[in-house]
Symmetry: C3
Subunit: 425 residues, 3 copies
């Protein structure tokens, strides 16, 4: 039965190819005038040479095309480019990016309820109702140009290959990766460019200086996540999976370097990640404690509700960059920008990104967070309307603090009950 379907599919493709150039001439008559770049690029493409015309991808129902219902998504390309499609879908590019973090299905501690943020029951393709808090807060225009311009990669090959060009010069140029992998949150392009790898590329070309594709798409694979040992939020995988991925990456490094050297370089990245996480954790503890004691300004229940968590304090990957307090905004910069720079800089061997843009900024953030915490604690004392609950407070206030600690996971349910009992006695 499966074989029968395969044969049918192949016949369909062959039929398309035979018909498509004939139809194509009809399309070009108008589209040379209407969409000149599309025609220009298609005419120079491998598709044109192989006689894969407009209809092969767009079909021949012009009214559907005009309504935007015949978009060429990843499934259309995948009809021919099967290996690329399966590689892509096995990679972070292929899954759940819409949700604002990599798919959680492979994380050690995963909340199965989170699947519904992106997937319909039983489906591996993400839905269009994306459940990312930052996305949900955005206007539809910002969602288009701000979120989905990059996060469409899971559904569209054109994200990197462009719509009608097939020139490998496009996708073998690190600039095409820069389109998304740049900026404050993950400046991989910038840090590669001024690393030794990027410098050798600039002066001597790809043969001597590796680019994004050399290491992350080795052998032409479209699984860009090979060799990556952590989630897109910087959470390391469990030990077994980490080692499996590390071996994959070292195989790539071995094209040029001794294994011992590669292991050491990557292990240093691991340690920089751990150390940086320690600093972030310290900041999170400070803010969690302030929230427990009602000291944030404003407190979450005095703000517009968080789209997913309501009036809860949210410091994880669903943290917002709007409608929060100043001290949370400092943490946002620390986690989302500076932490990412430090660890990605370390794995990409770029001292300025690891140290100045990364580690030094994280430490400066921590100074700011401690200072703001000091101000908020004093403010609470000065206010005199409530006692400083850190060193006392009414029983009610202290119960509320315990409750909040429980909610954010700083107390286990058992610890909570014990401390609550002690308080009530």
């Amino acid at each position: 039965m499966n074989r029968f379907l395969s044969i049918l599919a192949m016949m369909f493709v062959l039929m398309c190819l035979t018909l498509s150039t004939a139809f194509t001439e009809d399309c070009l008559t108008c589209h040379r005038e209407k969409t000149p770049a599309a025609v220009f690029q298609w005419e120079r493409s491998a598709h044109a040479k192989a006689k894969v015309g407009c209809e092969a991808c767009h079909g021949n129902d012009h009214s559907r095309i005009e309504k935007g219902e015949a978009r060429v998504d990843i499934k259309v390309c995948g009809r021919c480019h099967k290996k690329a499609l399966s590689d892509h879908q096995a990679s972070r590019h292929g899954m759940g990016l819409h949700a604002g973090w990599g798919c959680t299905r492979k994380l050690p501690k995963r909340n199965p309820n989170e699947c519904r943020f992106c997937h319909k029951e039983g489906s591996e393709l993400p839905t269009s109702e994306v459940q990312c808090a930052r996305f949900l807060k955005q206007s539809s225009e910002m969602r288009e140009i701000g979120c989905n311009y990059c996060h469409s990669v899971e559904g569209s090959c054109a994200s990197c290959h462009t719509s009608h060009g097939t020139d490998l010069k496009i996708v073998r140029n690190p600039n095409i990766c820069a389109k998304c992998h740049m900026g404050p949150d993950h400046p991989q392009w910038e840090m590669w460019q001024t690393s030794l790898h990027g410098t050798l590329y600039t002066s001597l070309g790809r043969e001597t200086g590796p680019d994004c594709q050399t290491c992350h798409m080795a052998g032409g694979s479209h699984d860009v996540s090979r060799g990556i040992t952590m989630s897109s939020g910087g959470q390391p995988y469990d030990a077994a999976k980490r080692e499996e991925r590390r071996v994959e990456m070292i195989l790539v490094c071995r094209t040029c370097h001794a294994e011992s050297f590669a292991r050491k370089e990557l292990a240093r990245g691991d340690t920089v990640r751990e150390q940086s996480q320690g600093l972030v954790k310290e900041a999170e503890e400070i803010i969690g404690d302030l929230a427990d004691h009602n000291m944030l300004d404003p407190m979450p229940d005095h703000r517009p509700p968080h789209p997913l968590k309501g009036s809860q304090l949210v410091l994880d990957n669903q943290m917002l960059y709007e409608d929060t307090s100043h001290i949370e905004r400092l943490l946002f910069k620390m986690k989302k920008y500076d932490f990412a720079r430090a660890i990605k800089g370390a794995y990409h061997q770029n001292p300025a990104y690891t140290h100045w843009y990364g580690n030094a900024e994280i430490k400066l953030d921590l100074i700011d967070i401690r200072s703001e915490a000091s101000r908020l604690r004093e403010r609470k004392k000065g206010g005199a309307s409530e006692l400083d609950t850190a060193s006392g407070g009414t029983v009610e206030e202290r119960l509320r603090t315990l409750k909040r600690k429980l909610e954010r996971g700083a107390l286990t349910p058992v610890e909570y009950e014990q401390q609550k009992q002690r308080l009530l006695e």
Copy 2:
């Protein structure tokens, strides 16, 4: 009479050309040694080929040249390059940039008094006494390297073409635009570079990937403002002029794209601009209100006076980045840097600039501004030397608040009088 003058002018040019290469040999004898680059570049230039020598542009009065009185400004170049000159002068490059904003002559609500900031009565050429508050606060060295290095473009073709080179490779390279159109206030170069346009340029060249010149100097025009629908400060023109300009730009987009696609992309930019302006407006309101109630630290009358507005609060395009309060400085970053990035990023289709460097930063700024406002309001309450005038205050304080609202346009004169009467009753 006019014709007679034209003939005279033409004769003058012809005479110069005939004489100039003869004179030039005399110049080169010394200048090969004195200013080697100038000679090197001239010798390779179209001018040299066309036998346009030193004298044609610099004249032959060496004492004037030595005193710096024979600078080759735009009028000298315009004697031959008439079309370029008139295009240039019709564009934003050609008018009033010295004043820190585009010439106001075409803005819907224009204060005719502002002309005197840049122009002598009846003259369209800007004077050298520039009336930009930021410029006026600067040392003469910073004015040279900081302000006029870019804002000289209105008077000097060399800003882009360099002094003696005429190679089109210089002016057709986006890097020449970067010299000014980069950095925190308007990073057009950076955002183009990592947009799809810039990426195609980098991998496949100008034919496939458009650069600055392709869209903003289409057909070789020197009117770089064609198709721009807003002032340099981000204020949209009136509807009729906006549409006129939009049509100009879409004609350029049509070289590659379908009109419907181009319209939609640009309209999205318009919406991002409006939404961003809303956030800026919210911040301005907060600060205006604090100032009304005497809560800025320091208040404008406790600072060195603003060069144009004295002890008034200035939040418009004449806003300073020095000697203000912390909360105003937060607005400065928001308006001048992050707002510019969001809207220019949207028009240039760069997601990282629109969203992370733009929209997200604007929202983070707003968190900071609200937090600082909360601190300032509490401080006022805590100070106890004055009542919190937001919820009361002495009659005198409340009159002062009304007066300030009037001054900054938050009350009309009629509303002011009504509220004042009510207060005095």
Copy 3:
């Protein structure tokens, strides 16, 4: 005797050369597999052509090589490349960078005790026990990738030339300098790239547009400090040395420009430096005064001790970016990032770096510092536990303030004694 040693050395080198290619074949058998890039690069190198094989640099004791004891440091390269070595060691690249500032030996006011931070008694080579406070606070991983990745330049030619490549394309590409000379603390690469020099380089190549090497390694010299008139921390040398260095630089400028022009451009850089230092000084005074009056939050004696200065306030080049107060962190940004951008931008003729990234940021920093100082002073008053010692305080508090002024050099010992006497009377 010296001559005898010279002959011995030369014989040693010749012997190595003769033996090395024979040995090399043995190395390559394994290393083509073990370290492919090293072999790939060596095979294409000038060394291979000149029959300088593995042993010539690494020796032939494989057990030492495996233990990492046969690293090819600057002394190994210097056996043949004598001129490059001596140039390098005369430059800032060659001395004391490990210490976090340029070697102090040539500074006008030099504390001879500081030599021990980097040097063993009588030695000019820096030791590995580096005495830079920021370095001392770092984890060993951050020291490797964050500090020494760049600061190894004094001991390793491979910092710029790469380990096995000798292609001049590598070291004549400004990108190789970018590896270290980029980022928030000294973005020379970025500012050159968008300067007129960089733009001409990008469009017309090295012949027309000078790069880093053109001006800072003129004539192929490895003394990159020729023509530099200040320490790496931005402190100008004394007048005589400044002029000597200026003359060196102008000789380079003279390759293209008139001397008068070059003098004027560089003098403007000097003035921008002086003006910027004035603003930094103002900020330092504010913070020094707050510390005198016990108003920093936290005060130095409530923090982890500074690795070199203990519980003292440190605002000089040994200033930390961790464990300080918020206001000191603002100064850190101002001094280390924005000041550097302003002055280096001015010397490199980049308006965006001089003005927006430099001067404007310095002034915005000063607003923030004054605002934070205002808050800290008020906090002290509000605290009521201590009187505001700026305008009084107990005798003990005022004595402590005097002591601190003495310690940070704001009072001479004589002034201190006088004021102390007056206070006690």
